[in-house]
């Protein structure tokens, strides 16, 4: 398991290269990476990401451990940048290695949902019209809820 909270840029392809490294017990590798997007209608000059240094890595490490246990992952990688990013830059990535594809996909989506609404990062867009904190979307919080419900459901069924 590897968790990196960093200011400098990274390349998801290179990170993925070292991730799997010749194991023969895993059958499925999923990766997600988030990219700074700039709409033609409202172009942004840069994206600033603030985080909570004492808490961020600890929080991500906790959720990554939960994902590893819940989906029996063979490995798990989370990288998240902070500081100033430009359009086209990779903001973050997660990668999950599992025996089968369903587990790898679910764990990656779980990690993403967590990072969206529970990890202490805040985005601010800089554009011609000024600086604007990105508002959280209720949808992201709701999406996170499904994992709690699912776990509760499993418990009900023994």
């Amino acid at each position: 398991m590897r968790v990196q909270v960093q200011e400098h840029a990274f390349d998801p392809g290179s990170e993925l290269g070292g991730f799997h490294a010749g194991r023969t017990d895993a059958g499925a590798l999923v990766s997600f990476s988030g990219i700074v997007r700039s709409d033609d209608q409202a172009p942004i000059a840069l994206l600033e990401i603030e985080h909570y240094p004492g808490m961020t890595e600890k929080a991500i490490r906790g959720i990554a451990t939960e994902a590893v246990e819940r989906w029996q992952l063979m490995d798990c990688l989370v990288i998240h940048r902070f500081g100033r990013l430009k359009p086209g830059d990779h903001i973050m990535m997660v990668a999950t290695l599992a025996k089968h594809r369903a587990e790898a996909f679910e764990a990656a989506e779980f990690l993403m949902d967590y990072l969206k609404s529970r990890a202490p990062f805040w985005k601010r867009e800089h554009s011609a019209s000024g600086k604007l904190w990105v508002a959280s979307r209720d949808k992201d919080e709701a999406t996170m809820e499904r994992w709690v419900r699912q776990e509760a459901g499993e418990a009900d069924c023994g």
Binding site: G34, I49, E50, H51, Y52, G54, M55, K58, A59, H80, I91, M92, M112, L115, K116, S117, R118, A119, P120, F121, W122, K123, R124, W133, V134, A135, S136, E141
Partner: protein, 84 residues
Amino acid sequence: MKQVNVKYFAWVRERIGKSSERVETNAETVRQLVVELGEREPRYELAFSDLASLRVAVNHVLADFDSRLENGAEIAFFPPMTGG
């Protein structure tokens, strides 16, 4: 009298005008601390005017506004997170 370390992030930090401070308080819960700070200065009152749009972490863990306040704790206030 307790001493807690209080941190502010994103627009909460901007409204209050600092990123952290040491606070002496008799508050029993996070909610009581919020009320106490709000009574000090208008900028705190403004920053804390809508608790539904705020989140709090106690000792680096997301917490409830009704969490008990312990001496020496680190309390952080911030808007809903927008990572990923």
